[in-house]
Amino acid sequence: MSARIGPAGIGRSSVPLGTYYAVLIAMLYVPLAILLLFSLTRGGGLSFPLGPLSLDSYASVLSSDALLSSARNSVIVGIGSSTAATALGTMVAILMLRYQFRGQRLLVALAILPLIVPFVVLGVALLVLFRAVGMPLSLWTVGAGHAVVAIPFVLLIVAARLNGVDPRLEEAAMDLGATYPVTLVRVVLPIIAPALVSAWLTAFTVSFDEFALALFLAGPSPTFPVYLYSQLRFASRFPVLIAMAVLLMIGTLALVLVAERIRRLRT
């Protein structure tokens, strides 16, 4: 998105709004800075005056098996659910823009609706389902729920891109003898690839940080947010937990920034 500077907006000076932005950013980062400071203290107390700082908690991340396995669980659920959601949401996007059929609006509405259902409601509803059919809670049950809540995001991102693709390209491919599935895979998907990447990453970040659903559905193998929550009452565990979260955040951030680069290169 490029914003041209013109005779637009109120006044010319960027000082008042720039100051507002700076103050707000500072307020957003203060709690994060406190977290970071916390991860550098020993023993979990953060009160004035500050004690000596150390990187111990970052080292002990690697020696905590439960912590590492919860992070691994989150990665598994994230990859699985965002892959499923990307595939399913893209199918709905194609159905929405390339077909006309009875019940089309209903299907699209159904795929968008998870966006307005409060997570606590969906969480307990899924819990009722899994109990009713006697399915034990696992990473699968968390993943199923995460895929449902990610489908609307995928649909919106992919449909926006597909909307700009000329349907005549598909007709040309089919005139040249390609079946429709082949046309989708070899013509349409490559064109909308940047949107697919961006949809997948959005779904992944939604799943990776999701707690409200996962608390109900995780069962014996917690995802990272669920594990984090279970440990929050032990103040002494804090620095290690935050250290882990900081490391995960750096990873996510790198992923997002790299993907953004890829998306720009292609477009």
Binding site: P7, G9, L17, L46, L110, V120, V128, A144, P181
Partner: protein, 286 residues
């Protein structure tokens, strides 16, 4: 050969099945659970349906009052977060110039930080042994920690606003960035000063984004239970905590389901009314 027509089912069945299994079926089963007297031994051994649970929801006035209060809190959080986000979107669109993307990413980094930890950070700041209190005691400004900083509705609202501001900027920024600059130039040529241009051109065109931002904050907030759990204490709990309690602590699934059905109905009704009020078509055209 597989044409468009025969591909149709290939594309329809997977998403339809998934949504029916993991979205529609759970909601229906939850509805069925809410008209049961108790959980019983097997779910599929249907007893005679009863509306007792809904009777309890209506009779126990504190439940519905908490729902009203949660809707009110969501309203406050939505309005405040949108209002605080609006000038940021304006800054990014009209003032930041080429560095807009950098400023946007700087704004979004907190949003990519663990939600639980961002909420926890407020507990660390406001708790009786937290940063604020220990700092004030250390400087001698106060003698004993201030207890009112944490565990009440105000703290929940402040924390939620903090959590949602970066997210609220996005739809407003998207709407503003699409405003045609020639429109503003035309308004200027026709003699409109900066403020009339803002009130009569920029604001109306950015409004759909602001409304979208409000709802993107309001909807998750009305069903919120995590933030009250961490910084709300017993006096700051929300309707979502009630539902969560019935499914975990007291394991009264039928009553919990009835409460969840009420919450779902209220949320969908509010969104439907809003969609009617703000003319969705005009939005889509923008």
């Amino acid at each position: 050969m597989l044409g468009r027509r025969s591909t149709f089912w290939l594309l329809t069945i997977p998403p339809l099945l998934w949504l029916l299994l993991f979205f529609v079926a759970p909601v229906i089963l939850m509805g069925l659970m809410s008209v049961r007297e108790d959980v019983g031994r097997s779910f599929f051994n249907f007893p005679k349906p009863t509306l007792d649970q809904y009777g309890i929801v209506l009779e126990e006035t504190s439940y519905l009052r908490l729902l009203g209060l949660s809707a009110f809190m969501a309203l406050v959080v939505g309005v405040v977060a949108t209002a605080l986000a609006f000038p940021i979107a304006y800054f990014l669109t009209f003032r930041a110039g080429e560095r807009a993307n950098f400023y946007l990413i700087l704004l979004l980094i907190p949003f990519w930080t663990s939600y639980l930890l961002r909420v926890m950070a407020w507990k660390l700041m406001l708790g009786s042994e937290g940063v604020v209190n220990s700092f004030l005691v250390w400087t001698g400004a106060i003698h004993s920690p201030l207890e009112f900083l944490l565990y009440n509705r105000g703290t929940v609202i402040v924390t939620l606003v903090y959590v949602w501001i970066p997210f609220a900027v996005l739809p407003i920024y998207a709407a503003m960035a699409r405003i045609d600059r020639p429109l503003l130039e035309a308004a200027a040529d026709l003699g409109a000063g900066p403020w009339p241009r803002f009130w009569r051109v920029t604001l109306p065109l950015a409004m759909p984004g602001a409304v979208a931002a409000f709802f993107m904050v309001f909807i998750p907030t009305i069903g919120e239970y995590v933030t009250p759990l961490l910084v709300g204490g017993s006096s700051g709990s929300m309707y979502g905590n009630l539902i969560q309690d019935f499914f975990t602590k007291s394991a009264d699934l039928p009553l919990g389901s009835a409460l969840a059905v009420v919450m779902l109905a209220v949320t969908i009704a509010l969104v439907a009314i809003a969609a009617r009020l703000i003319n969705v078509r005009r939005f889509a055209a923008l």
